[in-house]
């Protein structure tokens, strides 16, 4: 902050909010006189969804003299009811770090130099046009983000697919949510969860499938803890590959060998079938048994192609397929004792218990990510524990609008705002709304994220525009993709708010307006769309929103008619245009005015009513009358799919040369690559650098002590990190963990770029590495 008084004021306001939030966790419903945002504190308070994770907490931002000076949880938000995590409380500080990008930059004679915004925008438009002319429309690409506001993603889709006519549009949500999407689509024909956060207050059993919710989704986890405090029979089961803060809070912890969650899920199904803990009524009326292809590969080769095909199977065939997954067999594979597997199956199988399964990156960043999503749905479908209050398989999300922007707008190569590019009906609908000739929309998907950066390396893509994300930290096997991006005749445009490892390699850098510096919308993990107004000015006139940057370039390319709305209302107009895609589809989104007035509205939103539980006739007006449950996403059958998927090993497992598993992830203080949270003093101080967690026995064997400098070496690269033994996370023997928030410790130089062949989402949780001590604790890194 620019002056100490403002900063102290901010801290005091934060101290007050934090205490109010803490009180609410121990005394439900407690309210404090005067901690009412609308009261006389001299601030103007406005609502906004949090800038960070996919929980989508509602915040109230206090504005004074044109600056955001205070933040507190919005008590009116049904998501967080006034609570926030440490990132939310510090969110407004991410606006004001001193190295905020304020001027456009263009690389000249090898160096990035500041230029007028007009020059940079002209250059981008020229480079796009030249590349298309010389190499074709598929030589340009755009790579965005689940942090894009909904209108940014929509503008990108219209520009790339409806304007240029290329499907080279992807977003970083491919790296975090794609397996959840394909899990939903293969099982239910429609994306996104059937349940909602209310399930957290209702369920009796919570099963965390490889998910450190205490750190990654702390506000939602606090709802589970509160449920357990009030209802002592409530159980939390932590299925994990390393002990975390979630394990500390869990009633039962089951540590499994990486990848064997596939086998565990099948073993649970095996037990359910063996003991007939099945809801036959539900199975017969609402499900179909299916199987897909097996031995499907790992996507390691360039131009890898795979298409799954589901075929029917009978219940008897399904039973035969899971026969070998006895608890004893799976104990051998997974390391989880057979008794624990039986116990878990018993919880799912008990008709008197409501069970919620929760997952995030552990299941999604998986070379069989789609499969493990399918398998967890199988458990819920076999027991009929789905689409009912408290019975809910629930995929959590990592980014504030991975759902709202990437999944719902469809900023992925195969998608349109409604439907897929391969569908003539979807293309016609898009062409009509966009007022373009239908032929302009390419019916063939081009490059998913990994293929896109491989194409950039090979030279099939020459110009790429990266907005609101930091792939030069997040891509697996990073050395290849960084070297590829730096090759001769590659042109990299980066829009961001701070210098990052990605702006380092850029030819043009555009400074962006972020979050409450412009009007926007996010969509969270429970299908809730949230709006915020522009509350403060960006740090310079050159900082445009991502949407405005796209429109400016489109105009320069002669595609201005795509965005022919008045400047003052364009956000509203584009949003209302986008809403047309979802009218009467089961994905009906609340109108702009409704979103402005309320702290978020869930879709489908029909006749003024939200749908908390989809596919359940009691709550969902899209269900056929009398059906009770109707999985209408599978249009021809209206049934959900129970899909048999086997256990298959990962592509790389520890061996003599690389004897340990490496798993990567996040910590509560930092958000993704840390480009924002590492600039917040309190958060930086709380976790200044990344580290490597090692089991004490492994450390002793390798003579590694706390704080020693170690090298983490894989077939792809080598990084250095300080050893942490018995830290907040405790990996089992043979496994190490490194968080990825630190741009000075690029752990993705070590990870493997294998991906799920169905979702194309890479696996950041399993690579084989060797650890070597290279320095003692006292030596500098």
């Amino acid at each position: 902050m620019s002056n100490d008084v403002t900063r102290r004021d901010f801290l005091k306001s934060m101290a007050l909010s934090a205490a109010a939030a803490a009180a609410a966790t121990v005394i439900p419903g407690v309210a404090f006189a005067g901690v009412n945002p609308m009261k006389k504190d001299g601030l103007n308070w406005h609502k906004a969804p949090c800038r960070f994770c996919g929980t989508g907490c509602g915040l109230l931002i206090g504005i004074k003299n044109g600056r955001a000076v205070a933040v507190k949880g919005d008590p009116a938000s049904p998501v967080n009811r006034g609570l926030c995590c440490v990132k939310g409380y510090h969110s407004i500080e991410t606006l004001y770090a001193k190295d905020r990008l304020k001027k456009a930059m263009v690389r000249k004679n090898g160096k990035l130099v500041e230029v007028e915004l007009e020059e940079a925008l002209d250059l981008i438009a020229k480079r796009f046009k030249d590349t298309i002319e010389k190499h074709g429309k598929d030589a340009v690409a755009m790579y965005g983000s689940g942090q894009w506001a909904i209108v940014d993603g929509y503008a990108a889709s219209k520009f790339m697919k409806g304007g240029i006519g290329t499907n080279n549009l992807e977003a970083n949500a491919r790296l975090c949510m794609a397996s959840a999407v394909t899990g939903f689509l293969t099982g239910f024909g429609m994306d996104e969860p059937m349940g909602c956060y209310q399930d957290l207050d209702i369920a009796d059993v919570f099963v965390m499938w490889g998910n450190n919710m205490a750190e990654m989704h702390p506000v939602l986890f606090s709802r589970i803890l509160e449920n357990r405090r009030k209802n002592p029979h409530v159980k939390i089961i932590d299925l994990c590959t390393r002990l975390t803060r979630t394990s500390e809070a869990a009633d039962t912890v089951m540590v499994f060998n990486p990848q064997t969650d596939l086998a565990i899920a099948n073993a649970i199904c095996h037990e359910l079938v063996k003991h007939n803990w099945l809801d036959w009524n539900f199975i017969k009326k609402h499900t179909l048994f299916k199987k897909g292809k097996t031995n499907i590969g790992y996507g390691l080769e360039d131009k890898f192609a795979f298409k799954d095909k589901l075929s029917e199977m009978s219940f008897e065939e399904f039973k035969k397929s899971i026969e070998k997954y006895t608890p004893e067999y799976v104990e051998e594979l997974s390391g989880v004792p057979a008794e624990q597997i039986r116990y878990l199956a018993g919880l799912y199988g008990n008709p008197n218990l409501k069970v919620m399964s929760l997952w995030c990156m552990g299941m999604n960043q998986h070379t069989r990510g789609t499969w493990i999503n399918n398998l967890v749905y199988n458990i819920h479908l076999l027991t009929g524990k789905i689409s009912k209050p408290g019975n809910s398989p629930f995929s959590l999300t990592g980014q504030p609008s991975a759902c709202g922007t990437v999944r719902e707008v469809g900023t992925l190569t195969h998608k349109l705002p409604y439907g897929v590019v391969m569908s003539e009906k979807a293309r016609k609908k898009a062409a009509k709304i966009w007022k373009i000739p239908v032929e302009r929309i390419d019916p063939k998907p081009s490059n998913h994220t990994m293929a896109m950066f491989r194409a950039l390396d090979r030279g099939d893509i020459r110009t790429i525009w990266i907005q609101c994300t930091n792939p030069m930290v997040t891509l697996p096997k990073l050395n290849r993709y960084r070297d590829g991006a730096k090759k001769e005749d590659r042109f990299i445009i980066v829009s961001d708010i701070y210098p990052t490892r990605t702006t380092e390699i850029a030819d043009v850098v555009l400074p962006a307006a972020m979050w409450i510096e412009r009007e926007g919308f996010f969509g969270n993990a429970e299908r809730r769309t949230q709006h915020h107004i522009k509350m403060v000015e960006p740090p310079s006139r050159d900082c445009l929103s991502d949407m405005e940057q796209i429109i400016e370039v489109a105009r320069r390319m002669g595609l201005g008619e795509l965005f022919d709305y008045p400047q003052e209302t364009i956000t509203r107009d584009l949003f209302e245009e986008y809403r047309q895609f979802h009218d009467n589809t089961g994905h009906d989104i609340a109108p702009y005015d409704e979103l402005v007035a309320r702290p978020g509205v869930q879709w489908p939103y029909v006749n003024g009513k939200e749908v908390p539980w989809r596919y359940n006739e009691e709550y969902d007006p899209f269900c056929k009358p009398g059906s009770m449950f109707d999985f209408y996403g599978n249009k021809s059958t209206h049934r959900a799919h129970i899909i048999f998927r086997p256990y298959e090993p990962p592509p790389e497992i520890p061996d003599e040369e690389y004897p340990m598993w490496l798993t990567t992830g996040r910590i509560v203080e930092h958000w993704h690559t840390g480009s924002m949270t590492r600039r917040v003093p309190d958060l930086y101080r709380a976790a200044p650098e990344a580290y490597i967690e090692i089991h004490p026995d492994d450390a002793a064997e390798m003579r590694i002590s706390e704080g020693d400098l170690v090298a983490v070496i894989s077939r792809r690269g080598k990084v250095k990190a300080r050893a942490v033994i018995n830290g907040r996370g405790k990996p089992p023997r043979g496994t190490v963990f490194v968080p990825f928030f630190d741009e000075n410790l690029l752990i993705n130089e070590v990870t493997l770029d294998a991906y799920c062949p169905i979702s194309k989402q890479p696996d950041y949780k399993k690579a084989a590495v060797r650890i070597e001590r290279i320095g003692y604790a006292r030596q500098a890194l």
């Binding site: 801290l11 205490a19 005394i27 930086y684 101080r685």
Partner: protein, 86 residues
């Protein structure tokens, strides 16, 4: 030196007295009372370590205070944002 917030629980029926005692302390910025509960939010801002210690000492002797939980502490002077090295 530090900006802190606490949850302060009052002895039975002594919320008003606790409020008055907290407000009288040097370093007190704000006291907010819960509606229908014997708990208060207490925000402090002390200029030095000495003032901080004096405040802690006084807090430990307040007759109407049943229990005090530190929720938030920040030392603005000590915070050095480093950000990225690029």
């Amino acid at each position: 030196m530090a900006i802190c917030s606490y949850l302060a629980y009052a002895m039975d029926g002594q919320t008003e007295q606790l409020r008055a005692e907290l407000e009288a302390l040097e370093g007190c910025v704000e006291v907010r009372e819960a509606e229908q509960h014997d708990v208060l939010i207490f925000v402090t801002d002390t200029p030095s370590k000495k003032a901080d210690m004096a405040l802690q000492e006084k807090l430990s002797h307040l007759p109407s205070l049943k229990c005090l939980a530190l929720i938030f502490m920040s030392r603005p002077e000590m915070l050095q944002p480093k950000g990225a090295s690029v």
